[in-house]
C-alpha cells in the first residue's frame, strides 16, 4: 500500500493548488481524479476571468488550468487520473479504483476537493434527449469540439447560464432565449449585456412549462409569470429548439466528507450541505481539509486560493513549515481571498464561511 504525506482527491484548481503548495515544501503529494483529464472544470472555461493581476485576471480558464498543471509538475506532484476515491478506511486510508483494479492510499493529511454537481430541474419533458445541464454543453463544445445543438433555450440567468449561452454563440449555435423565473437576472450584468446586444433575449419572470418532441427535444414552451408567480394568461410562447440547456445551480459533492464523519452544515449561500471548515480549510477532522466547490460553490480563483491555504496548513502540520514561515506564506493568500469576496455576492459567502468556522470550533449538527 502506498503511503504519502498528503493525498488530494480532485485535480481541479483547489486540488492542484493545495498539492503544489504542499509539494513545494517537501511533502510527498498524490492527487487522484476520477476523470481522464485533470483541471476540473477549468478547461471548459474559455472566457477571461475577473480578479486582479495576482489572481491571474484576464486569463482564460483554460490557460489558468495549463499554468496550474505546469506548477504541479514542477513541484513534483504525482497526479493519478481515471482513479476514483470511493472509500475511506481507518480514518486515513483511501480506497481507490482504476483500470488496474482496487488499491489503497494512506496519507497523513487528506484534502477532499471533489467539486460540485449541477442541479436538475423537473418539468414536463425534462428527461427528453436534448435536455442537458449547462456544464454538459460546455464539455461537448469546449473539450470535444462537438456542437450539442443548433437552436438552444437556456434555463437560468445566473452566471453559468449566461456564460454558457455566450459560449454556445461562439461555438456556432443560436440561443433563442435565456429564461429566468426570478424578476431579475442573477448573474453579472456584463455577462447579460453581452447576450442582449448580440441579440439573445433574456426573459425574466418566465418559466418553461413544457419541452416536447418525438424522442428528442423539438420544442420548448414558456410562459410569463405575474407578481403572484403564477402564469399570466395568453403569454405562452413556443420556441423551436433542439437543445435545452439547464443552469439552475450547483450542489457541493461531499460524500467523502460525510464518510469521514466531518461535521456538516447547511448553508444556502454556499449551495447546500457543506463540511464545516475553518479559515485554513480544515474540517472538524484534524487531518482532513476541504476546498473549492465542495466547500461551497464559488469561482475558480477562490477554489485555487482555498486549495493553497489547505496545502500550506498541511505543510505546517507535518513540520515542513515553521509557524512564522506559514504565517508569511499564508498572508497574501488570505488577502487575495478577501479581495475576491469584496462585492455583494462575496460578502454573503464570507459571512457563511465565518459561520462555518465557528461551527468547527464548537461542533455542530448535521448528517
Amino acid at each position: 500500500m502506498l503511503e504519502v504525506d498528503f493525498a488530494c482527491v480532485g485535480a481541479g484548481p483547489a486540488g492542484l493548488g493545495a498539492a503544489s503548495e504542499a509539494a513545494r515544501r517537501g511533502l510527498r503529494v498524490v492527487v487522484v481524479d476520477e476523470n481522464a483529464r485533470p483541471g476540473g472544470q477549468l478547461f471548459k472555461q474559455i472566457h477571461k476571468f475577473f480578479g486582479s493581476a495576482e489572481h491571474g485576471a484576464g486569463l482564460r480558464g483554460l490557460d489558468l488550468g495549463r499554468r496550474l498543471l505546469d506548477e504541479a509538475e514542477v513541484a513534483g506532484v504525482e497526479v493519478q487520473l481515471s482513479t476514483a476515491a470511493w472509500g475511506l478506511y481507518d480514518g486515513q486510508t483511501l480506497a481507490l479504483s482504476s483500470e488496474g483494479g482496487v488499491r489503497r492510499l494512506k496519507a497523513k493529511r487528506l484534502l477532499f476537493a471533489t467539486g460540485a454537481s449541477e442541479r436538475a430541474l423537473p418539468f414536463p419533458g425534462w428527461t427528453l434527449p436534448g435536455v442537458v445541464r449547462a456544464g454538459a454543453a460546455q464539455t461537448m463544445m469546449n473539450l470535444h469540439y462537438v456542437l450539442p445543438g443548433r437552436r438552444v433555450l437556456t434555463i437560468g440567468a445566473g452566471n453559468v447560464g449566461l456564460i454558457v449561452s455566450y459560449q454556445l454563440l461562439q461555438a456556432g449555435a443560436q440561443v433563442v432565449a435565456v429564461v429566468e423565473m426570478a424578476p431579475t437576472i442573477g448573474g453579472y450584468g456584463v455577462h447579460a449585456a453581452k447576450l442582449r446586444r448580440w441579440g439573445v433575449p433574456i426573459l425574466t419572470s418566465h418559466r418553461v412549462t413544457e419541452v416536447s418532441g418525438r424522442e428528442r427535444v423539438e420544442q420548448a414552451a414558456v410562459v410569463e409569470l405575474g407578481d403572484d408567480r403564477g402564469p399570466v394568461p395568453r403569454t405562452e410562447r413556443v420556441f423551436d429548439v433542439d437543445l435545452v440547456c439547464v443552469a439552475v445551480g450547483l450542489t457541493p459533492l461531499t460524500e467523502l466528507c460525510r464518510l469521514a464523519g466531518c461535521v456538516m452544515a447547511h448553508s444556502p449561500a454556499l449551495g447546500g450541505w457543506v463540511p464545516a471548515h475553518d479559515e485554513d480549510m480544515r474540517t472538524s477532522r484534524e487531518d482532513i481539509f476541504v476546498a473549492g466547490d465542495a466547500a461551497g460553490i464559488g469561482e475558480a480563483s477562490v477554489a485555487l486560493d482555498e486549495g493553497r491555504l489547505a496545502g500550506l496548513a498541511a505543510a505546517r502540520d507535518l513540520g515542513h513549515l515553521s509557524d512564522s514561515e506559514w504565517a508569511e506564506a499564508r498572508g497574501p493568500v488570505v488577502e487575495r481571498l478577501a479581495a475576491l469576496r469584496g462585492g455583494e455576492q462575496g460578502a454573503r459567502i464570507a459571512e457563511a464561511k465565518a459561520s462555518l468556522a465557528a461551527r468547527v470550533r464548537v461542533g455542530g449538527c448535521g448528517p
Partner: protein, 174 residues
C-alpha cells in the same frame, strides 16, 4: 452597484440614466471632442485588468478592486488595449469625429467568422435592436489581445452613443 441598476438587473443592459452615472463613461461633451474609451461597467465585481493594462494610466480603480473603474479622458488615447483586456467586454472606444458624417465604435469580438474591413453590417444597440447601417473599417488581432479581436465599425455620427454590436448581412435574426 450604481443606484441599484434596476434596469440592468431586469433587462440585462444599462439604461441611459444608469450609463450617465458611471465614472467610466465620459459625458457627451468629452465624447464629441474625439477618440475616447467608454467603460460601461456598473457592478462591484472584484476585477481590475483595465486599470493594469492601460499604458497611459487613464483608468483608476484602486482598492478595494470592487470599485468601479473611472476614466480620465485627458490621458486616454483610445488605443483600445482595455477593450480586449476587459473580461466582461464592457469597454468600447468611440471616435465621434472620425469623418464629417461618421463616427466609429470599437468593440471586442470573439466569434467567427471575423468580419472583413469594408464589410457592410447592421448595427445593434445594447438591447440587440437594429440601429441602422454600419461598415467595418478595421479588425485588429494581436497577441496581446489574447484571442479577442477588436473590431471598429463606422456609423452615422449620431448613433455612436447607441451602437454596441452588429449583425453581418446574411445572418438571420434571433
Amino acid at each position: 452597484m450604481i443606484g441599484g441598476a434596476a434596469h440592468l438587473r431586469r433587462t440585462g443592459f444599462l439604461s441611459e440614466g444608469e450609463l450617465a452615472a458611471l465614472p467610466g463613461v465620459p459625458g457627451l461633451d468629452v465624447i464629441r471632442r474625439g477618440r475616447v474609451a467608454v467603460i460601461e461597467c456598473a457592478e462591484a465585481i472584484p476585477c481590475n485588468p483595465c486599470e493594469t493594462v492601460c499604458p497611459k494610466r487613464a483608468i483608476t480603480i484602486g482598492e478595494p478592486i470592487t470599485r468601479l473603474p473611472s476614466l480620465d479622458p485627458s490621458r486616454c488615447t483610445g488605443c483600445g488595449l482595455c477593450i480586449a483586456a476587459c473580461p466582461g467586454q464592457a469597454i468600447f472606444v468611440l471616435d465621434y469625429n472620425w469623418s464629417d458624417s461618421e463616427g466609429t465604435v470599437e468593440m471586442a469580438y470573439e466569434r467567427l467568422p471575423l468580419p472583413s474591413p469594408g464589410e457592410a453590417v447592421v448595427t445593434l444597440d445594447r438591447g440587440g435592436s437594429p440601429v441602422g447601417a454600419g461598415r467595418v473599417v478595421k479588425v485588429r488581432q494581436v497577441q496581446a489581445f489574447d484571442r479577442t479581436a477588436v473590431v471598429r465599425v463606422a456609423v452615422p455620427k449620431g448613433t455612436v452613443l447607441g451602437v454596441r454590436a452588429f449583425r453581418m448581412r446574411g445572418e438571420g435574426g434571433r
